[in-house]
Structures are given as C-alpha cells and as structure tokens.
Point group: C2
C-alpha cells in the first residue's frame, strides 16, 4: 500500500485529522508485513512503522480483536485470517480469480508447469493466481506478489493495452530486463508492445535463472477493456511458444466471454512474435 | 469479523477509547461487504453500519486512499486490491494454500471435480482454496466463505480433531444436517467424530441439492496439530468414497510432511466409514 508518509501528507492536505491519523497508523501496521517480513514482534512493528511502542501495542490489540492480525505460536504478529476473509471479496482479485480458475485449469492440464493470472496495479502487475506443478521449474513470483510490467509476459500484455499516457510514462524511465539487468531501449519496448497488440500474445524467452518461455494473452472485461493477463510459463524445450500461443489466445478469449466481453474474430495467428534474446 | 457492537463493548471494557472507535468504525465499513453485498453505495454503507453519512464519507475516503476500498465503474464501493495484497500474507490462508496447491492439483487430476482446503475459524470452517472443473457439479461454497463444521466433510474433520471442550460446546447445540434441515443427534455426531479419528477420513454422502460424495482428511502442521482439512467432492456415481479415501489420506499426509509434520504409520484402511444417510 501507499507508504505512511505519503498517506499522512495526503490527509493533511485534504481535511482536518478528525481521527484519521489512527487509521493511517493502523494501516501502516498492516502494511509493515511483506513477503520477507511475514511475522513481526511488537518492537519490530514499532520500529518498522515509526510508531511509539505504547501506540503500537494499543493499535495491534485492536487489530487482533478484529482478526486483521493474529499472534502465531511464538507470539509474533502475523496477518490474520479474517482480513483475508474480507479481502477475498475484492472483485479485482478473488472475483476475477473465481471466474478464471477453471480456464487456468485447462491450460494447466495442457502444460503441467505454471499458469499465471495478473492484473495491473499502478506501475506493477499483481499476481492474482498461480497454478504450479510439483515438478515445475522455479519462478520468481508468488500470489499477491508484484511483477515488473516491462519484462514479464503478463506485464507486457498489461502494458501493451494500457492507456497511451501511462505507456509514455513507463517508456520514459530507464528500464532493464529483470532479473538479468540488460538495458531495454524505449524504442525496442514500444515495438514489442505494438507487436503484442498485433499478434494477441506476448512471448518472453528468458535464459536466466533457468531457460524458459512465457506466453501471455489479454483478458477483457464487459466494457472491452483489458482487465487481466493470463500466461503459461514453461521450461525451454518443453513446448514451443508458437504451439502455446493459440491455446493462450483461445483460453483468454473464452475467459473474456465469461467476464461479459464481446469478442470479435480472432487475431491473425501469423506474424513474428516478440523475441527477448 | 466480529460485529461492531461486540467490538465497541470490548473496547469500552478494556481501555479508554483514545481513537480506537475510529478503527472500529473503519473495520465496520470493511466488514459491511459480504458475499451477497459485494458493492455498496455510500448511503448503503452508512445504513448497514449505522455510521452517520458524513463520518462514512470521511472514513471511506481514507480507506480508498489506502486501497482497502475501491470505486467500481458505477462509483459503488468494493473491497480493494491492496487489502487483498496485504491479506495474501496471512499464514493461515495464503501461506497454507501456497504449500497445498500442488497437492490439490494432484487430487484434481485424479477426480476432475472439486478439491477443497479449509481451516477452522471459530465455530465455522473457512474455505481457503477450491479447485473446480468447468463441468463440475454445483457446490455451495466459495473461497473465503464459511462452511458448517457438523455437516461438511472438511468441517467434520476439523471438528473431530478440535479440542474436547470445543467439541462439547458444538455438540451441546441443536444441530441439523445442512442444507436438508434433518436433525442430527449429538450422540450420532459424537460417534461420527470418533470414526473419523479412527479411519483417518470423513465421508459425507449427500442427496440434496445434487447427490454427491465428499471425502475429507486432516492436514497436520509442524507441531502435529490438525491445521486444515483437505477434501474432494464428486457427484454420486462418479467415484466410490472407498476408492477416493486412500488418495485423500495419502495426499493429506504428503501435504502434512511438507508443512513439517512428522507423520506416523498410516491409519488402518479398513473400518466402516461415516455414512450420512
């Protein structure tokens, strides 16, 4: 979530406090938890958020009361099951996921590797769902985690279909392929985005940390806007991207129809696909 | 989450307000969203929570600022993607689910119907994950939804392995099979729970609304405690519960080992299974 300093600034700019600093502090406590920091002691919570210990204790108790936080077996604070219960009603995450899951299963059965579903949130892609086999190659991303838009299959699809002003903003930055750290020119990225729109899929061929292909396609909502991206990630040599692309296109279109999108004739299957290296 | 009146009482009983009523009101707004009420106008939020409109507006804005709420295309409030992002760190929900998903995939491939994963929360089972095929029979439960302990496969497993005092509390209530509304005697339920502990699986055969079998098995954490229940739900005639039971037991044990449980010799496979009708 937004960092606490930004939140406080916005609160000051807009209206008198009237109790909102308490909400800001409560959310600062909740957002202190990250993938690398899944459990925190009271002292850690206080230090990470810059909240006085007595205030931290009072707020943490209140959050535990609501089930937004829980204590684990060691007495450390963790994010609570009841926060997840409320959050499971978020339309852009679980709502979308609920409709998408059977389609993701179809793709999973065809590949037995990874199937990803992501939505755009700000300047990142947020991974809403991932189906993975036991024996699948390692991928870097977890459900609830963020992926770069410019160097992942789902990210490129979301970026290719974002509003032009937003694309310009991303293209104006100094970008590198992740995780390799190879610079990416804005002209090359712009060509890639046009190609993704033309072919209906993004193909990313990655050599590091393990050689893999990702093939991603856009998912449209009732108003025709791209609301998500669906992809499969397979190890190099497992299946050719050109074989996977039609399955991705067809499945993404079927899911789009389930979401109420009126899908036109399929995009032409020919045309060169994006090559990363 | 806890209802607002309870939360306020607890706050009054424990310590002076010092701003916590704001947190209680904020969480009352968040918990106003339910499966049947996934989007709310400001007026509805105000009415449902009993919060004055001006306060509701102020708090809702603050929650939108933090991404805990969002406005949909119609301007209605919905639960936000960023709340889900934080909640995805909840160890008892997504943490468990992350470890369990490949095992659930294995069961899914064997049955192509429904595979459920649930944890106990208070007097309910909370559905943490569900894999379902396109063509699967209708089931009543969604991810993030609550299931009765005494009349579902996962619920019975969780109840059978709950602390004795808690079992007594549940058994003391007037219980009916849901959704049929058939009364369930505490003696019969107590026998069922003992049988579930003995055989290592719960089997529920349901006639309404569609004839189905559910077979469920316990999942243990590092300390040997039952932390979750795994089940498959199949239409009657699709596969016999006695055929599914060994797969459930084996998969639940494999998942338990992944969670750090030291699993002993398998439970005896013979023994009559619980029959619901």
């Amino acid at each position: 979530m937004t960092n606490n300093a930004g939140a406080s600034r916005a609160a000051r700019g807009r209206r008198p406090p009237q109790g909102e600093p308490v909400i800001d502090r409560a959310f600062a406590l909740l957002t202190a938890f990250t993938e690398d920091r899944r459990s925190l002691t009271l002292a850690e919570l206080s230090r990470v958020t810059g909240t006085p210990p007595s205030t931290t204790l009072r707020l943490a108790r209140r959050l535990v009361h609501w089930g937004a936080l829980e204590r684990d077996a060691d007495g450390r604070y963790v994010v609570g099951l009841r926060l997840w219960e409320v959050a499971s009603l978020a339309p852009r995450a679980h709502g979308l996921r609920r409709v998408a899951l059977p389609y993701m299963e179809d793709l999973y059965e065809a590949t037995h590797q990874h199937v990803l579903l992501a939505v755009r949130d700000g300047t990142d892609a947020l991974l809403v769902e991932r189906l993975s086999a036991h024996a699948a190659i390692d991928v870097l991303y977890r459900v609830g985690g963020r992926l770069p838009l410019h160097s992942t299959g789902v990210g490129l699809v979301l970026l290719a279909h974002a509003e032009p002003d937003f694309q310009d903003e991303v293209l104006a930055q100094a970008l590198t392929h992740e995780p390799e750290g190879v610079p990416l020119s804005s002209a090359a990225l712009r060509r890639s985005l046009a190609e993704i729109r033309g072919t209906g899929v993004a193909v990313v061929n990655r050599a590091e940390p393990v050689p893999l292909h990702a093939v991603a396609a856009p998912v449209r909502g009732a108003d025709g806007e791209v609301v998500a991206a669906l992809s499969v990630v397979v190890p190099a040599g497992h299946a050719e991207p050109r074989v996977l692309a039609p399955a991705l296109r067809a499945t993404a279109r079927a899911l789009s129809r389930s979401l109420g999108a009126v899908t036109g004739p399929p995009a032409p299957a020919q045309g060169s696909l994006l090559r990363r290296r």
